[in-house]
């Protein structure tokens, strides 16, 4: 099976005159198979959003440099003109964000925002688009969809807004959906509804999903394969059962140890990772995790660990469980 999306050696550097470049994404490579759910997980500032914005070509026009290759169905997206890419965005690949209120237009009804996509990308007339919009709202679980077409975003609750955004993203049956923290702003019972909806949509439509989150719990139940990011690099990648059963990168290992569990022994100290992401920003070479890593060797602070692909993808000089 050939990959739907292949990202290869993606680098994003933010440039500001008179200052050294700041590298936010540093050689990220991963792929997504048709119908697959792939997770990108990591803590604040590790480059999750910048990676997805680079794929969608939604980074600010100025002040950054993007290199590497992004292929969809074998087509090089980086070689497309802005117009060509806009055409594919919405039709082939689509994105939803953490804060639906900021990605919905506040002065336009939800219905109009959906029908606009349908008339523009699928060439429907107004009446057909309206009927399809009702279908879509119904499919994402918005009760009484006909009436909700005339609602403005602020009249919907957070969970319903996120559903409306998903409906817009799905309007053109994209084959790839990128979701950047789509449930982070929601309550846990509403999050459960949205995750359930996404899972169901992937199963029904065959859309592939890239799920971006900082929550390892969300990834554990949803994703087929998981990429763990730290300091702008993918440090580990594995099938979800494998990853959680035996995390090999000290960062993944530490992250899992620091999460309090519903079924864990209460009161005992958590195995926290020392320091914070800010400790070594900006990093220049070597392993970005080295200053916080309990396994760090001398080489970790001087040589960038090369990617190794043996059963799973790993970037570490001294992984957990190695003797």
């Amino acid at each position: 099976m050939s990959a739907l999306l292949e990202v290869e050696d993606l680098k994003v550097a933010f440039t500001r005159r008179g200052e050294p470049d700041s590298v936010a994404v540093d050689g990220v490579s991963f792929d997504v198979q048709p119908g697959e759910i792939v997770g990108l997980v990591g803590e604040s500032g590790c480059g999750k959003s910048v990676t997805s914005l680079a794929i969608m070509r939604l980074l600010p026009e100025r002040g950054n440099r993007v290199t590497g290759s992004i292929r969809m169905d074998g087509d090089e997206l980086t070689a497309l003109s802005d117009g060509q890419l806009r055409e594919r965005r919405g039709r082939d690949l689509s994105m939803i964000f953490q804060d639906p209120l900021s990605s919905l237009n506040p002065v336009i009804t939800v219905g109009l925002q959906i029908t606009e996509v349908l008339t523009r990308h699928r060439g429907m007339d107004k009446k057909a688009a309206r009927a399809e919009a009702v279908e879509l709202l119904d499919r994402v679980g918005i009760p009484d969809p006909r009436r909700r077409l005339d609602a403005y975003p602020h009249q919907l609750s957070g969970g319903m807004r996120q559903r409306a955004l998903i409906a817009i993203a799905l309007a053109c049956s994209p084959r790839l959906l990128i979701a950047d923290e789509p449930t982070t702003a929601l309550d846990v019972t509403i999050q459960a509804q949205i995750l359930d909806l996404l899972k169901q949509l992937v199963a029904e439509t065959g859309t592939a999903l890239v799920m971006i989150t900082h929550d390892l719990g969300v990834v554990a139940g949803l994703c087929d394969r998981v990429n763990v990011l730290y300091g702008g690099r993918i440090v580990e990648r594995a099938e979800r059962h494998e990853l959680f059963r035996a995390p090999r990168h000290p960062y993944t290992h530490g992250l899992l140890g620091s999460i309090p569990r519903l079924d864990g022994p209460p009161g005992e100290d958590l195995a926290a990772i020392k320091g914070s992401v800010n400790d070594n920003l900006p990093w220049t070479s070597a392993c970005a995790f080295a200053p916080r890593c309990p396994n760090a060797l001398e080489v970790c602070t001087s040589v960038t660990p090369a990617p190794v692909e043996d059963g799973r993808f790993l970037r570490c000089h001294n992984p957990v469980g190695a003797s």
Partner: protein, 364 residues
């Protein structure tokens, strides 16, 4: 005697309308009849979803918000009756730690002056040695006293917030979402710090959080809030092992755990619809509009009281009319029609005139 006794506490915020003559058109029932007690040295965890009234309850306990009714007794004394000097003295004994440390710390003050200010307000004086001891105790790096809040990471700022609460040697700390703005690896450090300080200083905590795993980890007892009221209260272990209220069951089943096998096995209780607005809380049991176990009798008409089921462990109380039958499995969960909540309901918002096309509005 318990350190803190809260009885039938309520906070109703008036909703007013009109600019010239403002009149009250309704109320937000943020907290509506909460009773709880916290023992010396204990950690009480308060969980619930956004808007259920956790912060308002915490603020009302500390007398930062005037309660509409009910009483708060701290160390046997009615807090409402305290005034002036007495109130100031009592305030020293209960302190608050906030979610967003940066917004609660004055950016122009160094850590040293922040701490000194807190102490001075309560007539305490702290020499440099005492301040250094404090920043050491919360695990801040050397030289922190001379630095300013923006020079610290999120986790370190939360440590400053904790140091500031500690500097007046309080008995009770109300921590409102103390770790929810932090990365998980850093969150673990702060949770460990809180429990170490409790063991060393004999502190009593009221920890407010929406993360059930965090609450379970730190708390001795847990209260689950829904729309202004506590629907279940139990020792932490009992609550998680045997949730009795339908809402608690749904909440626990919704928490994603970092364990794929458990996730694959899990049966979620998905709640239909949104959280109702606290300005128009449902009648009877406030959960009845979303409850998969709702029955035709009582649920919509009579507000259930917290009570202990027969055979339940001491201190495990639940506010549900049908808790026995649900536990015994004689009534089964059923489908619930989702009811939507109009975010703007009760709050008049002028929507724009209906636009005929997107292009028109955007001027494209």
């Amino acid at each position: 005697m318990s350190l803190l006794e809260v009885e039938d506490l309520a906070v109703h915020f008036p909703i007013t309308q009109g600019t010239l003559v403002s009149r009250t058109v309704g109320h937000v029932y943020a907290v509506d009849g909460v009773s709880l007690t916290i023992e010396q040295g204990e950690t009480y965890g308060l969980v619930g979803e956004s808007g259920c009234g956790k912060s308002t309850l915490g603020r009302a306990i500390l007398k930062l918000t005037e309660p509409t009714r009910g009483s708060v007794r701290f160390d046997g004394r009615d807090v409402a009756a305290l005034k002036g000097e007495e109130l100031r003295k009592a305030r020293r004994r209960f302190q608050m730690v906030f979610q967003d440390p940066l917004s609660s710390l004055d950016p122009r003050q160094s850590v040293e002056s922040l701490l000194q200010e807190g102490m001075k307000a309560h007539g305490l004086t702290g020499g440099h040695a005492r301040l250094q001891e404090l920043v050491d105790a919360v695990g801040l790096p050397k030289g922190s006293l001379r630095r300013y809040p923006h020079e610290f990471s999120g986790g370190q700022r939360q440590r400053i917030g904790i140091a500031r609460a500690l500097c007046v040697e309080p008995d009770l700390i109300v921590a409102d979402e103390p770790v929810s703005a932090l990365d998980v690896s850093v969150q673990a450090q702060v949770l460990n710090l809180l429990s170490r300080l409790q063991a060393e200083l004999g502190l009593t905590y009221l920890v407010i959080a929406h993360d059930l795993a965090v609450v379970r980890h730190v708390s001795d007892r847990v209260g689950v809030m829904y729309l202004g009221g506590i629907v279940e209260e139990a020792p932490a272990g009992d609550l998680y092992a045997d949730p009795q209220h339908p809402y608690t069951k749904a909440l626990l089943s919704a928490v994603p755990t970092p364990d794929p096998e458990a996730e694959d096995r899990r049966e979620r209780i998905l709640l239909a619809g949104d959280l109702p607005s606290p300005a128009a809380p449902p009648s009877g049991c406030r959960f009845h509009t979303r409850c998969p176990w709702r029955q035709a009798d009582r649920c919509a008409t009579e507000r259930p009281e917290l009570r202990q089921l027969e055979g339940a462990p001491a201190g495990h109380r639940v506010a549900c009319h049908h808790a026995e039958a649900i536990k015994a499995g004689t009534i089964r969960p059923h489908e619930v029609d989702a009811t939507l909540v109009d975010e703007a309901a009760g709050f008049p918002v002028d929507g724009p005139d209906h636009a005929s096309s997107v292009q028109e509005i955007l001027g494209r």
